[in-house]
């Protein structure tokens, strides 16, 4: 929570040009980059799901998923105002800058979340709405409020919320879940640690300042490199399952092998060279990898019907 030193009565009640909130500040609260992964993975879930959904309802489901993700981002920033103020990476966010009060951010996040879940229930189906509500609550309560400041496994368990959007897209079409969307979940869930620990290596000093128990700070870099290697291998192994179980065809199989080997190589390179530039390279590779894998799954279905 924000302490009173970060925001003063003065800079809220007597706004100057520097601390008047603009549309941009509300946009930042939505964590647009995190949101883009949610939109993309939910869209792939929607494409892969059997059955049909009216394009307007499909678009609505994706938009509501995005709003739900945005509300989770805003509620995260409301809770972490004082932590954000201590970190270089986050100190220019709207609350530490005094451009938005914690109360305004809380109101914005709650309104957005309640609206997104309610509309999902009314316009799509109740099951999808409950999945969206669970995703938001997991990110805000379990990850942000409970795990993040308590354990090095914070992002491992917190990865559940990031891995749920493809299930939301799938459920919007079918109203239920099956093994195939669970594999999509498993891919993102196993991918999350390598991705975030690569970032945590780069922001090690920042996390120290904020007193957050990220793996590189607590267990050391060597153990982090090994953990990254293990989770990268696991991710690539899991990414083969849609092909092995016959949910996707040879096109996807080739993509999973090609990009999987590249992802593993980057993790091995970090383990061997142990330099910051290798962590940065792995971080960007992990984003590129997930995009490629999910695009591969969607294209395989759209172009070849998913049979090899």
């Amino acid at each position: 929570m924000l302490n009173s030193q970060t925001i003063t009565e003065g800079n809220v009640k007597n706004p100057s040009l520097e601390n008047i909130a603009e549309v941009q500040d509300f946009w930042v609260l939505l964590k647009p980059r995190v949101m883009s992964l949610s939109i993309f993975s939910a869209l792939v879930g929607l494409i892969l799901a059997p059955g049909e959904i009216h394009p307007v309802l499909g678009f609505t489901a994706i938009l509501l998923t995005a709003l739900g993700a945005g509300s989770a981002g805003a509620l995260n920033m409301w809770f972490e105002g004082d932590i954000d103020a201590r970190m270089e990476r986050t100190k220019t966010r709207p609350i530490p800058m005094g451009r938005l009060t914690p109360g305004a951010v809380l109101g914005f996040g709650l309104t957005l979340g309640i609206a997104a879940v309610s509309l999902m229930g009314l316009l799509i189906n109740l099951f999808t709405a409950s999945l969206l509500a669970f995703t938001i609550l997991f990110y805000v309560v379990v990850y942000t409020m409970w795990l993040k400041s308590r354990t090095t496994q914070n992002i491992v368990i917190g990865g559940v919320s990031g891995a749920l959007p493809p299930l939301i897209g799938w459920a919007a079409v079918t109203g239920s879940l099956s093994l195939e969307p669970m594999l999509l979940f498993a891919i993102i869930f196993s991918w999350t640690p390598a991705h975030f620990w690569a970032l945590a290596i780069l922001c090690k000093d920042d996390y120290n300042k904020a007193n957050l128990p990220m793996l590189p700070n607590v267990a050391g870099l060597e153990k982090t490199y090994i953990q990254i290697l293990i989770y990268t291998g696991l991710t690539v192994a899991v990414s083969f399952t849609p092909y092995i179980l016959g949910f996707s065809g040879a096109f996807y199989g080739v993509i999973a092998i090609g990009f999987g080997l590249f992802f593993i190589w980057k993790a091995v390179e970090l383990y061997l060279k142990k330099e910051e530039k290798n962590a940065r390279s792995l971080f960007f590779t992990s984003i590129f990898y997930l995009f490629a894998i999910f695009s591969g799954l969607a294209l395989d279905r759209l172009l070849f019907g998913g049979v090899g």
Partner: protein
């Protein structure tokens, strides 16, 4: 002292952007409701 006209310009821009987003959302919700209730295009 802040430049009042600059401040007003920013606030006008903000209000317009928020209004545009809200109107778009209302239209989308109306169309989605129409489709959900069985209406076709």
């Amino acid at each position: 002292m802040p430049d009042r006209s600059e401040m007003h310009r920013k606030m006008r821009g903000r209000n317009f952007a928020v209004l545009a987003v809200l109107v778009s959302l209302v239209i989308l919700i109306a169309v989605a409701t129409y489709v959900k209730l069985g209406g076709g295009f």
